[in-house]
């Protein structure tokens, strides 16, 4: 039976991992991910699950251990945040290049310097080109649901790629909210039994992982990897349809909110989307035809589908919780790429918000709505890219 609980985002992710009971987990603590794996390690120590927990000395080692365990034939997970993800950088590409279905919660945190432990999306955005699938989550419920679905997507024979499940540090990871746990049996049946087809430990059928491939075939190898990413859209949709049967919750590649008759829209990831929805409702009450689009699948990015939804709008404001210094925010760039090949082209604005955990308040969402409405009305002196709510 599904049961309502009041838990933190980290509790929720740890509970999902417990229900899935991976063969191997590597763990290295980093705020705000620490109590996710700490909780998970309690489940292991208490004998509730039989995961082989490997305590390592760095995130580089954590990912290396995951790579080895996954190649050996295990179902494998770890979790990290901010600088921890940055330290995994080299091994992220090894995991995706070896086509290993590792699953990893990323509890989003800013990168140093200055030193900061709070939420922004610089960590995961820095890893967006690493060949990992990325699912983003507004709240603890979505983080839990995405994590369960991630295993099915990663391990699908047409995909075989690692998946990051992103959730906002502190704002979601450490805040208690109501959500629903799915019954253990239903989760176990949903993720099923994982049998690695090319396990290193299958000595009857020897295989090699990570050999040297030079100029003759590397290019083709990467084309195959790119083709696998293209199949993620279909598989993610199929997995979501099956997940709806055990959860009653509907997931798509992205969520649209009050977009049916919208003339303008905000585009925003993760927890700020929740706050923005309340402000969109208030704007709607005042007769402003604004909607919201929240990407769930960021890698691969559903350019075509999102372009179709946005093409007829007058203006779109993309909110980024990270910056690509000297360029536009990473989400903005994807939205621009989604629209270029369609006839109608809304005006685009980019607003950077919430770096290093700065609160994203209703007034910030309102500033974005005011800007996008002004853009729709033809106001010409609007900054294309701007940091929101800069203190004097």
């Amino acid at each position: 039976m599904n049961v309502a609980v009041a838990v933190t985002g980290n509790d929720a992710m740890a509970h999902a991992l417990k229900q899935i009971n991976p063969d191997v987990c590597a763990a290295y603590p980093i705020t705000p991910q620490t109590d996710l794996m700490q909780r998970f390690s309690e489940f292991v120590s208490d004998g509730e699950i039989d995961t082989e927990l490997i305590l390592v000395e760095s995130e580089h080692s954590a990912m290396s251990a995951c790579i080895g365990a996954a190649a050996a034939g295990g179902r494998v997970a770890t979790a990290t945040s901010g600088p921890g993800l940055a330290l995994m950088w080299e091994m992220l590409y090894v995991a995706s290049g070896m086509r290993l279905p590792i699953v990893m919660p990323v509890v989003n945190r800013a990168l140093s310097a200055p030193l900061n432990i709070h939420c922004d999306h610089s960590d995961a955005m820095g890893a967006r080109d690493s060949g990992w699938i990325q699912l983003w989550s507004e709240n603890a419920q979505e983080a839990y649901d995405n994590l369960i679905q991630a295993f099915r997507i990663a391990e699908h024979p047409d995909i075989r790629l690692p998946v990051m499940v992103c959730m906002d540090g502190f704002i979601i990871s450490h805040s208690i909210c109501r959500m629903e746990y799915i019954a253990d049996d239903a989760v176990k049946n949903f993720v099923g039994w994982f049998k690695e087809k090319n396990a290193l430990l299958d000595i009857e059928n020897p295989v090699s992982y990570g050999p040297l491939i030079l100029t003759d075939q590397y290019h083709e190898y990467k084309k195959i990897q790119s083709d696998a990413m293209e199949r993620v859209f279909r598989v993610t949709t199929d997995v979501a349809a099956e997940f709806e049967k055990i959860s009653g919750r509907k997931y798509d590649l992205f969520e649209t909110y009050r977009m049916e008759d919208a003339e303008t829209s905000l585009i925003v990831l993760n927890s700020a989307a929740g706050t923005s929805k309340d402000v969109v409702d208030e704007a709607r009450d005042r007769g402003i035809k604004v909607g919201l689009l929240k990407p769930r699948l960021f890698r691969p990015f559903p350019h075509k589908q999102i372009g179709k939804i946005l093409q007829h709008l007058k203006a779109v404001c993309v909110l980024d919780r990270s910056d690509s210094f000297g360029a536009y925010g990473p989400l903005f760039t994807e939205i621009a790429a989604s629209l270029y090949n369609y006839g109608g082209k809304p005006r685009l604005l980019n607003r950077i918000y919430g770096l290093g955990g700065r609160d994203f308040l209703p007034k910030d969402a309102l500033l974005a709505i005011e800007a996008v409405v002004a853009a729709a009305e033809g106001k010409t002196d609007l900054a294309l890219k701007e940091y929101l709510s800069i203190r004097g």
Partner: protein, 190 residues
């Protein structure tokens, strides 16, 4: 009260204020509501002023930011009134719940607006009598349940007891249960 009740707690590090917010959220969950509980995340230092928040609602809670306009403000340590404007952002009809024994001094310091209500409970004294330690949160949670009307006293008392059940001896668990009940009974408007 609004459809969503927003609560701001003022306390000091080490007092258990964040735990109180969590326990209250849990108790409200039992009544089928949507709940949130979260602290203001900063450096954790014993004795330093801190804030924690609750949102309790009949409908799904989507805001993920601090409570800026509290319906209810709780002050777990009245000495905070000297240094912090606990009424910041409060409505004309907001309620204040103060842990204090000296009512006259509190009245002077609070400077309420005409529609605002203030409630006092001597949580520290109750805690010393029931638990044996000056941790006022169980009485405050009981008092909050009463003035908010969000949850019945027995449900909160059971929830508080359950939150202590795993780690503490029977005496402490029962002491906290009694502390919640006495907070509910002894809170009064000033």
């Amino acid at each position: 009260m609004n459809e969503t009740v927003e609560i701001r707690w003022h306390g000091r590090g080490g007092q258990g204020t964040v735990t109180a917010a969590k326990v209250f959220a849990d108790a409200c969950l039992s009544s089928g509501r949507y709940v949130q509980a979260f602290p203001e995340y900063g450096p954790e230092r014993a004795g330093a002023p801190l804030k924690a928040y609750n949102r309790i609602s009949e409908k799904e809670l989507r805001k993920h930011c601090p409570v800026l306009q509290p319906d209810i403000v709780i002050v777990a340590d009245f000495t905070l009134l000297d240094g912090i404007d606990v009424s910041a952002g409060a409505y004309e009809r907001s309620a204040f719940l103060i842990n204090a024994g000296n009512i006259e001094a509190i009245k002077k310091k609070l400077r309420l607006k005409s529609g605002q209500k203030a409630y006092v409970v001597d949580g520290t004294r109750i805690a010393l009598a029931t638990i044996g330690r000056p941790l006022p949160n169980s009485p405050l949670v009981g008092a909050l349940a009463k003035i908010s009307g969000l949850v019945e006293v027995d449900i909160v008392a059971d929830d508080v007891a359950r939150s202590f059940d795993k780690k503490f001896p029977r005496k402490i668990v029962d002491g906290n249960r009694n502390a919640v009940k006495r907070g509910w009974e002894e809170v009064r408007e000033i």
